[in-house]
Amino acid sequence: MPQNAENVLDHFELFRGPEYQQMLANKRALFENAHDPAEIERIREWAKTPEYREKNFAREELTINPAKACQPLGAVFASVGFERTLPFVHGSQGCVAYYRSHLSRHFKEPTSCVSSSMTEDAAVFGGLNNMIDGLANSYNMYKPKMIAVSTTCMAEVIGDDLNAFIKTSKEKGSVPAEFDVPFAHTPAFVGSHITGYDNALKGIIEHFWDGKARAEPKLEREPNEKINFIGGFDGYTVGNIREVKRIFELMGIGYTILADNSDVFDTPTDGEFRMYDGGTTLEDTANAIHAKATISMQQYCTERTLPFIASHGQQVVAFNHPVGVSATDDFLMTLSRITGKAIPKLLERERGRLVDAMADSSAHIHGKKFAIYGDPDLCYGLAAFLLELGSEPTHVLSTNGNKGWEDKMQALFASSQFGKDCHAYPGKDLWHMRSLLFTEPVDFLIGNTYGKYLERDTGTPLIRIGFPVFDRHHHHRYPVWGYQGGMNVLVKILDKIFEEIDRNTNVVGKTDYSFDIIR
């Protein structure tokens, strides 16, 4: 009996006891019809070869371990960034259970979102009644200030028309006529979660600026000096948006964060559950039309939103998830150019500190090879930072990256001597990455939690940066943008490098000479 009351064993140790090991061996030997271990070993070795890689890359229809999710997740993520806004997903309810779980597992926060719970009858007759009842129930129960509607693939396949449905619901009294119900069609079979973010954000902005689905006159732009800021789908939204606010405040820039979900994903434990917290006010959202410019931190998250904003007379600028010195320089200089405000001394000192830190540690990073995967903008930002550190972002893979992204990545590689043998892989998944890591090994892998399977299989140490990160806690509270964010990313990378060096040198009597106390 391995278990004992005084020192309770978790699954980590319990099942390694001889009783359990014997039991599992018997199960396998007698009942599982398991393959011969030699055959398993043979296939395991084969799966590491260039031949396997070729077959793997020849795949046309099968996707294995993709690094992307579907549109409505992004829509929910954007929607909770507005004051007292309840995301309402029109379609079957299971999807919403998934979005809520997914976001909660990353942020360790509640995620409030409802669905119209469509079932077979709605599949046949359409989901209008679900919308009518659903809006009325949500409005009464959760007292939102706005309900932001998006769709699932089910509602899209049967062709439900949100604009008409919302109008009819209002006529039937589900919510008052003047109540804000912006919407976006977000089919799961088009694009990914970043597309959904883009669509939902555009839907909300359009609602306020373009006359609330013709219920009111369109807003007239009266230009002012404020700047709108859009973060994009970002697992670090809590740390990043706060860092960006600090920068705006240091520079004395008036700003509006569009879709500011930094508070709702970081509520205190103090005896009260806050279903809504923080968020861009509806007034600010409407007034954002008057801003001088809109800055998006992620180009591929705002491909439709930015042109829409530009068409209303504003300057728009998109960055690619800036990480590190030059990318932050660009960000600050752009802010300065647009607003005419000087970059303050404090930020200049922060810049110097990041450069200082990079200079202090660059010897450990220089020439190291990295593989990166994630959303297209994040990949770009991280690759640019690695080049800046004198290391080589050898494989950069984005399941939801497109041809345009690939070209942009290759241009980035071409701009640096460290990018010489680096390649971008749009539309590929983590099983492709596995082949890349076996056939063209790198020193480190950067990506989300799912990379731990790659780390285990290929022995490439994983640095967790991305979304989702389920198996490490609280990373989202620390920014990766700005000079201070760059410092966080640098430390994350260095910590892994040092852990690996220590792990490789800690053999007593064999590698003692390199097991240094000073690194």
């Binding site: 391995p2 978790d10 319990l14 998934y98 779980s101 009842d133 129930n137 949500s138 129960m141 396949v157």
Partner: protein, 500 residues
């Protein structure tokens, strides 16, 4: 004052009823009428808990339920480790269910086991327009090329598949033929079917019947010598290793477990099950259909069991043994005696810390009743419970064997109701899922995930009970809960007191 500390049952009932009326006030009239049927106070002696169940959730409320796909892929089929389960349709469903249930298994992932991988046909707009059958055929070919040691394939349909009318059965049949009769199972578990994940369990069970059992020919070679003591574990998903800490007890009492469904399960074990002498069923809700089928078709009896907490474990071991001869009956007694010192030590250590604490539960289709005994073994009391996707027979079982007079019952509870109930009843701990966890922790209420044991476990069996007890103690008695309110908010300054 918390309801838990109220002494008289009559008082508790009156307050619980009042509480139900209170939460119903917020709804529009039609919704209130519908929700009222799902909320009640248990009356001792009644055949069920007095609530309606397995009905459609109401649009626009925050239901905790999932969908048929979640029931089939996430629960029944997904944990069969040596088969590849295709999430057929858009990318999201497979992505969100990827690795999110801890169905432990032993195998070389990516080579002969596939449990923590996400295979999807990643539908694009063109697939919706032109149909996905050709795509599916190619997906299967590509699986065969890259994963030659897979034992079988299932096709888990997402919403669009049924809506656009794809013929996944025809594709599965054709491909099975092409690959030497390989087991390829189409499962019509589109998320819009039914009212919760429950229908997905049923559909998945039917797929086992039609595409695994019906395929086994009578002359098929048995891979092992049968014994009179062969049993199959059905409906244990091996969350945190639960099925293992259950299996070891069955083997210790002299039985031989020839199949384990579906955590750490394999296709061979599914196929062997009709040779069992007894099917023992843990999660009744998700697997009763196939157990009944095996009883009808193969004459295999089945019995339910509950391996949460020593009282129910002993009861269940004896019940299972009652189907066998004295050798097994003695075996059961021997196992109970063997683990008694461990159970005594666990109870002696944890009961004093947990005695009298109250619990509110809201879980899937089994644990809202099954864990009650384990709590009672620790001196704790369940004051409210309900099922995410239970049916009337689950509530009957709950009423008959588990809940006390006056317990608050809430079927398919909405986020709003659950928050109000917890706020008013002030339990010492809430047991539910990840979506509820942080809501209650923010309120300062200790919480344990009772779908997945919060990355801990196992909780089943004697070894598991030690972890269960430790976890409940850890959750309730964590010092952090004393810090949820800032001290300056709790104690008014004397000067202010004087001023009042």
């Amino acid at each position: 004052m918390s309801l838990a500390s109220t002494q008289s049952v009559a008082e508790i009932k009156a307050r619980n009823k009042e509480l139900i009326d209170e939460v119903l006030e917020v709804y529009p009239e039609k919704t209130a009428k519908r929700r009222a049927k799902h909320l009640n106070v248990h009356e001792a002696g009644k055949p069920d808990c007095g609530v309606k169940s397995n009905l459609k959730s109401i649009p626009g409320v925050m239901t905790i339920r999932g969908c048929a796909y979640a029931g089939s892929k996430g629960v029944v089929w997904g944990p069969i480790k040596d088969m590849i389960h295709i999430s057929h349709g858009p990318v999201g469903c497979g992505q969100y269910s990827w690795g999110s249930r801890r169905n432990y298994y032993v195998g070389t992932t990516g080579i002969d086991a596939f449990g923590t991988m996400q295979f999807t046909s990643d539908f694009q707009e063109k697939d919706i327009v032109f149909g996905g059958d050709k795509k599916l055929a190619k997906v299967i070919d590509e699986i065969e090329t890259l994963f030659p040691l897979n034992r079988g394939i299932t096709v888990q349909s997402e919403c669009p598949i049924g809506l656009i009318g794809d013929d996944i059965e025809a594709v599965s049949r054709a491909k099975s033929k092409e690959y030497d009769g390989k087991t390829i199972v189409p499962v019509r578990c589109e998320g819009f079917r039914g009212v919760s994940q429950s229908l997905g369990h049923h559909i998945a069970n039917d797929a086992v019947r039609d595409w695994v059992f019906d395929k086994i020919t009578s002359e098929a070679e048995l891979r092992f010598e049968p014994t009179p003591y062969d049993v199959a574990i059905i409906g244990d998903y091996n969350i945190g290793g639960d099925a293992w800490s259950s299996r070891i007890l069955l083997e210790e009492m002299g039985l031989r477990v020839i199949a384990q469904w579906s955590g750490d399960g394999s296709l061979a074990e599914l196929e062997a099950t009709p040779k069992a002498k007894l099917n023992i069923l843990h999660c009744y809700r998700s697997m009763n259909y196939i157990s009944r089928h095996m009883e009808e078709k193969f004459g295999i009896p089945w019995c339910e069991y509950n391996f949460f907490g020593p009282s129910k474990i002993a009861e269940s071991l004896r019940k299972i043994a009652s189907f066998f001869d004295d050798k097994i009956k003695d075996g059961a007694e021997r196992v109970i005696v063997k683990y008694k010192p461990l159970m005594d030590a666990v109870t002696a250590k944890y009961r004093p810390r947990l005695e009298g604490k109250s619990v509110m539960l809201f879980v899937g289709g089994l644990r809202p009743r099954h864990v009650i005994g384990a709590y009672e073994d620790l001196g704790m009391e369940v004051i409210g419970t309900g099922y995410e996707f239970g049916h009337n027979d689950d509530y009957q079982r709950t009423a008959r064997h588990y809940v006390k007079d006056g317990t608050l019952i809430y079927d398919d509870v909405t986020g709003y109701e659950f928050e109000r109930f917890v706020e008013k009843m002030q339990p010492d701990i809430v047991g539910s899922g990840i979506k509820e966890k942080y809501v209650f922790q923010k309120m300062g209420v200790p919480f344990r995930q009772m779908h997945s044991w919060d990355y801990s476990g196992p909780y089943h069996g004697y070894d598991g009970f030690a972890i269960f007890a430790r976890d409940m103690d850890m959750a309730i008695n964590s010092p952090i809960w004393k810090k949820t309110r800032a001290p300056w908010k709790d104690t008014p300054r004397p000067s202010l007191m004087a001023a009042e």
